[in-house]
Symmetry: C2
Amino acid sequence: MSLPHALLGLLASQPGTGYELRQRFEASLGNAWHASHSQIYPELGRLEDRGLVEVIAHGSRRSRTWAVTADGRAELRRWLTETEPNRDVRNEPLLRGFLLFLLEPEERTAVLRRELAAAEREGAALAATAAELDGDGGASRFRPIVDLGLRSNAVLQEWLREQVGEAG
Amino acid sequence: MSLPHALLGLLASQPGTGYELRQRFEASLGNAWHASHSQIYPELGRLEDRGLVEVIAHGSRRSRTWAVTADGRAELRRWLTETEPNRDVRNEPLLRGFLLFLLEPEERTAVLRRELAAAEREGAALAATAAELDGDGGASRFRPIVDLGLRSNAVLQEWLREQVGEAG
DNA sequence: GCCATCATGTAATTAGTTACATGATTAG
DNA sequence: CTAATCATGTAACTAATTACATGATGGC
């Protein structure tokens, strides 16, 4: 279960409310993990019980801003360095890629075009993130991993264009 | 839930027993989806109830060979062409990549080296699969998607080597 | 004043993992 | 004959999604 460490990681990067964490899953961690608010709020409570996060501010609309504690940072480092990653990836669009051979050429082309459009949107979002990071005085700690995302996305777009070209 | 369609897809590619399906999740679909036998056997029963798969042979050790029915193929095509993919990917190694900035340079290098070793193993497995497909009289229906895997793996390995180099 | 969005929570259900359990066959 | 692997199944538990529910605040 990666959710507690995903939350610790988001808070280690920047404190925030549960609501904001939800949004950051989409904005920055979208290709790696995600969670809905109904998972986030109870998990923050459990992390608080374990002393890994704490409320550092109360804001309007009874919101609470959470931050990771020293113990939380230690737990994150332990997890990163001493535990093996679970490599059981779940990626439904890729699963669909394995099954494209089942379709007639015209159907396959239509599906591939839809995926290409999605990859282009994703690529544009990544480029915007990269530009933002570069604009903020450069050298963000997320710049390298965003770059990996950009390169992977470029490979995917290239593959999709080849497949569309060959099929249609 | 992609499991029923993953099973239909595996059986559409080649009939097999529940046990074999389990192995094929690792061998061919490993980067996209996976399931344990305790999920596969009950799901095959449900697919049978819906008329999407059927037993086509009884073998030794009371094994049953399953195949997808005409209705099953129709359901697969409908799913591929008419439904939007769920793009909520779960990828723990990538999540960890986002959090590497939390580590000291030496720790980060050690983690990156471990990931590089994993990526090299994965790349070798993909290359072996590709060679096998090419050897079998060529033009396998899985060759294109295996090629996407190879290219993505190459990008990942390159990125990891850069990160290792820069950090240590 | 009222609508959109911020903000948080719980309940019910479904999906997925881990643990428990058993028997058949084949290779050495 | 016996150990490894093939082969299937259920039970208990944990994780995740969907649905239900409520209230606060800021902009118009």
